[in-house]
């Protein structure tokens, strides 16, 4: 069995003294693990950092086996993102969430494209936190827990949407919310794709996506807690807002 694909490295852990087990998010094979022989060597260690885009060839005797990878770097991202705490936290959060949420060996081509675009965008301009927020929405959508923010769940209005119902995941207009407003989740314009995405709005949006990650996605995965890396990113965004 063998195949060749491009994938970004999500995580790695040592395997024996010289090898590592890496977890890649590939275009056609989804989240896929494999052993990289000599992965702790001076030649490979700098390449095998989370976020790096790799050209990977996977081989195994049987399809069920973990198999081994031979890898060539296509784009190194870690060095550029390590210098700033917010971009580093975003990279950690993205990798941890994908590792947490995606089933093994199930392709998600649309989410993969979006993830690659986001990884290339982080740290390059002011809009990347907004792109990260939209990526979390896309992650929820891809895994079957998408929010419907197109119109108000109560009145059907498409204007003045200000809240998200924690029960249905649908938008609610400010006027329709009435006395229930304090029980609803915030729907900042950034979550609708409007505006420039100030960090304060991003923080609000992350509160809303975080709620659904925690109450919808996590229970479907055995009720494991969300990765701490995401909370660290949210804390940093909130502090810098």
């Amino acid at each position: 069995m063998d195949w060749r694909d491009n994938g970004s490295l999500l995580s790695l852990r040592r395997h024996g003294e010289t090898s590592v087990i890496v977890e890649l998010f590939t275009a056609a094979h989804g989240r896929h693990l494999g052993v990289v022989r000599g992965g702790t060597s001076r030649r490979l260690a700098p390449i095998l950092q989370p976020g790096t885009l790799l050209d990977a060839t996977w081989r195994a005797r049987l399809e069920d086996h973990m198999g081994s990878y031979t890898v060539e770097p296509l784009r190194s991202r870690a060095a550029a993102l390590m210098t700033d705490r917010l971009t580093l936290a975003a990279l950690n959060s993205l990798c941890a969430l994908l590792s947490f949420a995606l089933p093994e060996r199930e392709p998600h081509p649309a989410l993969h494209r979006r993830t690659e675009a986001l990884l290339d965008l982080i740290g390059t301009n002011q809009a990347w936190p907004l792109a990260y927020l939209r990526w979390e929405l896309a992650l929820l959508d891809e895994l079957g827990f998408g929010l419907d923010l197109s119109s108000c769940a109560v009145s059907g209005a498409v204007e003045d949407l200000a809240y998200v119902s924690p029960k249905s995941g649908r938008a609610v207009a400010a006027e329709a919310a009435g006395a229930w407003a304090d029980r609803l989740l915030p729907l900042p314009p950034a979550l609708l794709g409007h505006g420039e995405g100030a960090l304060a709005e991003i923080a609000q949006g992350l509160t809303t996506t975080g709620f659904f990650l925690k109450t919808r996605l996590a229970p479907s995965l055995g009720d494991r807690p969300l990765p701490e890396a995401r909370q660290r990113f949210v804390d940093l965004v909130s502090r810098q807002a």
């Binding site: 030649r43 976020g51 784009r75 190194s76 390590m82 705490r85 580093l88 990798c95």
Partner: protein
């Protein structure tokens, strides 16, 4: 022809658990030790016994020594107001081999890791914060690995220490003896960003 006795087999099995050794190389090492009984085996056994009885973590910095306080923490000459933060004892020993740092150390005992569920409380970060306040530290040098986990930990420590103390980190870039052609693009870009006047 009879093989090794059970005691020798036990020794081989234990040696084979050491880093860099497998069953075959452990067998060779044990055979060598037995042949050099007086010269190697007995002194090694005595040294192992002594280290086994006395080796312990320094209560202040986490270095390994033979007392509650290691030689570096006990030395007044090392009280320069600088603390070098390293991931583990091997890194501390590497810094000492270089001989360029004359202050004291702080061994974290690992790095933050989402994958392995290692959080700040699992490391010696609270102890570091206490030391900085108690010892009148003027500079904290973060000598952590240039990996995602290492730098995540570095940023976290810098946040925890706040603005009351100068926090620096090791430079990143082209290693001595490194050839540009063989470096990964991330290292080259880090070196380019950290370029200095020549």
């Amino acid at each position: 022809m009879s093989g090794p006795t059970s005691e020798i087999e036990t020794l081989i099995e234990m040696m084979a658990r050491l880093p860099g050794l497998g069953p075959r190389s452990a067998r060779r090492a044990v055979l060598h030790l037995i042949k050099k009984r007086g010269l190697l085996l007995m002194p090694l056994a005595e040294a192992l016994r002594q280290v086994g009885e006395t080796a312990r973590e320094c209560l202040t910095c986490g270095n390994i020594g033979t007392g509650d306080t290691c030689a570096i923490c006990a030395s007044e000459k090392r009280a320069t107001g600088e603390i070098c933060v390293v991931e583990d004892v091997a890194d501390l020993w590497a810094m000492e081999r270089a001989g360029v740092f004359k202050g004291r150390y702080h061994v974290l005992g690992g790095t933050l890791s989402a994958l392995d569920a290692v959080g700040p409380e699992d490391l010696r970060i609270p102890k570091l914060v206490d030391r900085v306040a108690a010892e009148g530290v003027t500079e904290v040098i973060l000598a952590l690995n240039a990996t995602i986990d290492g730098q995540t930990t570095a940023h976290y420590i810098a946040d925890r220490l706040g603005a009351g103390v100068r926090v620096t980190s090791l430079a990143q870039g082209v290693p001595i003896g490194g050839e540009l052609d063989y470096l990964d693009d991330g290292t080259i870009s880090a070196a380019m960003r950290a370029r200095k006047s020549f």
